[in-house]
């Protein structure tokens, strides 16, 4: 057997990024730190460089991706992913959302294949804004969080259109922090 | 006192492997080369089931495992997993194959002709025991035909389709990375056609034969006629990043078309694999022929035969029963003893245990 392989810096970053995402979904509402990255490793001029790091950890030619930011879209294309629309994409990376209407377009999978539901990545301000109460798998009882930067009616729309186990996952990024909300999490606007 | 010697397990593993390997002795480049030269049909079978075409690696895998076929194929599959996908070759059509052998049981003569090619079909199966007494068995030289058979020939099904005897399969124009790849995606049902054919191509020969034979004997609805059986070489045409199309070499392939009467037309079954393996492609094409409309859970239902002819999975699961099952066994014993205690005096229950 060859010598023990060493992870490249890229491999280490992707692994740590995934680790943050995995725990973010496992413990909804608890922000996780994404690993630091070398600015040279990611495209310049991105408003949300963390989104590029998520692409590195998750996305390749087996994915269909919708990126709002053109520079991020080029980064995703380099992974081999096919560009998609909000209706066709399995992963969506947005710079923001003015209304919750887009949620209605997202893939939710089917009862037979819930895994076909989309993953939506959005920037938000964690720890600010309106209080929300989370419950469901991964939450020890209930958890109150504050999230700002999302459009009015976002949570109501999410609750209205998802019929578990169909649904979509949401990652909210704030700089190098990420918070996960799987479809299994109930979000109550306080 | 230590409760367990953790290193004990590792030492036992190491020594058990040494015992296995001691029996085979040194593996040399010469041994690998000789295996490759002497056993081309075994090499072909291994490459087909591994879905990896490399005669040297196949010979090495055989040498390394002492001919334990399931182990050899697993070695190759595991190696294959680690290899990057550099390019996807252009689709190969039947009429473009460089054909060595091509026979039809459906018609006495077919466009392009019957080409017997290399086969032991009509040999008398007599052991050359003189070799064990010191003689060398040398092949007689092949005498070239006056008129060589054409290298490229059309498929018999194409002729039948042109004559309205069967509906030709719809042409699939998917190319390159868009072709579903069963080694990179899970097999789900109903399966894409590409997944079905790929699964049959890498299926275990014995498994395909057992289920194909069951179908041929009458457990399938359709009795196959071998429309054509072909052993050939396929040209690998690859596009260079600069755009040049070039041949990256040739691989040996086998394919079979089988047909049977289905209402007023012919039904068509097809299979192909890497390497020359006639039994496998005829049996696999028979399964393909019978798959349409097969009852759920029958041996000719696609989900049934594709899951159960996957050699690496089936052999791995079979041998996994050697692993300790103390915990599951203990758990079953507990339920059984308790049920008996509860039923003390009454006749012991005859019901089957839930499967584990």
């Amino acid at each position: 057997m060859p010598a023990v392989p060493q992870p490249s810096a890229f491999e280490s970053r992707c692994n740590a990024t995934y680790d943050a995402l995995m725990w973010a979904l496992s413990r909804p509402g608890l922000p996780r730190d994404l690993p630091p990255f070398d600015p040279d490793d990611l495209p310049a001029g991105l408003a949300h460089p963390a989104h590029a790091a998520l692409i590195d950890a998750l996305i390749d030619r087996e994915c269909t991706v919708h990126c709002e930011n053109p520079e991020l879209a080029r980064h995703a294309a380099r992974s081999g992913a096919a560009p998609g629309t909000p209706r066709t994409a399995d992963h969506l990376f947005l710079d923001g959302l003015a209304t919750p209407d887009l949620l209605g377009d997202l893939r939710q999978g089917s009862d037979l294949h819930p895994e076909d539901g989309a993953t939506l990545v959005l920037p938000a301000r964690l720890g600010q804004g309106a209080p929300l109460r989370l419950s469901g798998p991964g939450v020890d009882g209930t958890l109150d969080v504050r999230l700002a930067g999302l459009p009015e009616g976002f949570w109501q729309t999410r609750a209205r259109i998802m019929r578990y186990p169909m649904g979509f996952e949401v990652f909210l990024t704030d700089g190098a922090r990420v918070l996960g909300l799987p479809r299994s999490t109930r979000v109550e606007v306080l | 006192m230590a409760y367990v010697a953790t290193r004990g397990g590792e030492r036992a593993i190491e020594q058990s492997q040494r015992l296995f390997r001691a029996e085979m002795g040194a593996i040399t480049p010469e041994r690998v080369a000789e295996l490759r030269r002497a056993l081309p049909y075994l090499i072909d079978r291994v490459m087909g089931e591994a879905s990896l075409y490399d005669e040297d690696l196949a010979a090495l895998a055989l040498a390394q495992t002492g001919g334990e076929l399931y182990e050899a194929i697993l070695l190759l599959r595991a190696w294959r997993t680690t290899q990057p996908r550099l390019a996807v070759a252009a689709p190969v059509t039947q009429e473009s194959l460089f054909t060595h052998r091509r026979i039809s049981a459906a018609f006495k003569d077919i466009p392009g002709g019957q080409v017997l090619g290399p086969t032991l079909d009509y040999a008398h199966r007599i052991l050359a025991t003189e070799v064990l007494e010191g003689a060398t068995s040398r092949p007689e030289p092949v005498e070239p035909a006056d008129r060589p058979a054409p290298a490229q020939q059309p498929s018999v099904a194409a002729w039948q389709a042109a004559n309205g005897l069967l509906s030709a399969p719809r042409a699939d124009s998917t190319t390159g990375n868009d072709i579903p790849d069963v080694t990179r995606e899970p097999l789900l049902f109903p399966a894409p056609r590409a997944h079905s054919l790929q699964s049959l191509a890498r299926a275990e020969t014995g498994g395909v034969l057992a289920l194909g034979y069951a179908a041929q004997r009458g457990y399938g609805q359709a009795h196959p006629t071998v429309n054509e059986l072909r052993l050939a070489e396929a040209d690998l045409r690859v596009t260079h990043p600069r755009g040049t199309v070039f041949s990256a070499g040739r691989v040996k392939v086998s394919q079979a078309e089988v047909v049977s009467k289905k209402g007023s037309a012919l039904g068509l079954g097809f299979a192909a694999t890497l390497g020359w393996n006639e039994v496998k492609v005829i049996a696999a094409a028979t399964l393909d022929l019978n798959a349409k409309g097969a009852p759920k859970g029958s041996a000719t239902e696609e989900e049934f035969f594709l899951y159960h002819t996957e050699g690496v999975e089936s052999s791995g699961f079979c041998i996994h029963f050697k692993l300790p099952h103390y915990v599951t066994f203990q758990s079953s014993l507990d339920a059984m003893r308790d049920a008996r205690a509860g039923a003390a005096g009454a006749a012991p229950s005859k019901q089957a245990e839930p499967a584990e």
Partner: protein, 303 residues
């Protein structure tokens, strides 16, 4: 675009054995599995240098998660010294450089076949369970596609009927290990062939459990703080193995799941199945400085 930008440097083996595309696919599927607890997610499941059925599913998850700092523990039937556990541990260490341990408390990642350690797992720990058959409905529906449709419809009637028939015939549920359990009130899953003793450890646990079947190409998950309820009738309570009163003849540990060791005189002795707990119990008895963590069972009762 240059060739250099399209490729990476040659390496004899990818870090963690699996290449980037295999890892990304497993990551994507794990995220969905965590999001729909107990629902089986199909994945490609690459061939790895181990036979199918020998932990290749757990191995692929571990290979995806591992880093040079992940402390790994591998057990089979509760024991670190089982030959298959030793083999998997050696492989994981050799493809990742990760440190290994037998101590449940020290481990970041525990790959296990058929047991959950007796010491409580923490919220920073991941348990990877090897799964031979991911489909809890197989005994009532061997066809995987039909079974999947039954999950889609939450159609668990035949599963209940089977349990009911066992009670009628034998006076109790005869399911040994792999006790079917309802996750988050929606999906029935197999907890893998862990004994009934271990299933309550998954209910509202602090750790993350990933269950992966390599041969069958399915993975499912139980996130922390998730309801895992064995299928039982209101009037026939769930019963774990009757091991609460057994004592380990080697370590003296009592009130844990045991291996039964038949003796020549027709009787049986017992030894604690969690080998590391046995080791620690002996060390503690001999006055060594040993820390035994809080256990799920105290005096043979789930606490």
């Amino acid at each position: 675009m240059t060739l250099q930008s399209l490729t990476k440097d040659w390496e004899p083996m990818a870090y963690g054995f699996l290449d980037g595309s295999a890892k990304r696919e497993i990551r994507r599927k794990m995220l969905k599995a965590i999001s729909v607890p107990g629902c089986q997610m199909p994945y490609a499941s690459r061939e790895v240098p181990m036979a199918r059925g020998w932990g290749t599913g757990g191995l692929q998850v571990s290979c995806t998660l591992v880093t040079p700092r992940t402390r790994i523990k591998v057990i089979d039937q509760g024991a670190d010294d089982s030959v298959n556990a030793a083999s998997i541990r050696k492989f994981l260490a050799s493809v990742s450089g990760a440190p290994v341990t037998t101590d449940t408390l020290q481990a970041d990642l525990i790959q296990s076949r058929h047991r959950i350690p007796e010491e409580r797992l923490r919220e920073d720990q991941v348990l990877v369970l090897q799964v031979p058959n991911p489909e809890p409905l197989r005994s009532v529906q061997p066809n995987m596609s039909i079974a999947r449709q039954m999950h889609a419809d939450a159609d668990y009637g035949r599963m209940w009927l089977q349990l009911y028939e066992q009670i009628v015939r034998s006076g109790r549920v005869m399911q040994g290990a792999s006790y079917p359990s309802l996750v988050n009130g929606r999906h029935v899953m197999t907890p893998s062939p862990i004994p009934r003793w271990d299933v309550p450890k998954l209910h509202m646990a602090r750790h993350l459990t990933l269950l992966s079947a390599g041969r069958e190409k399915r993975l499912h998950a139980v996130p922390p703080f998730t309801r895992v309820e064995p299928l039982v009738f209101d009037d026939v309570p769930y019963r774990v193995e009757d091991h609460a009163g057994l004592t380990c003849h080697r370590s003296g540990a009592r009130g844990f799941f045991m291996n039964e060791i038949p003796q020549a005189d027709g009787t049986s002795l017992h030894e604690v199945s969690d080998s590391d707990l046995g080791v620690k119990t002996i060390r503690a008895a001999e006055g060594e400085d040993t820390r035994i963590g809080a256990t799920w069972y105290v005096d043979g009762e789930m606490s």
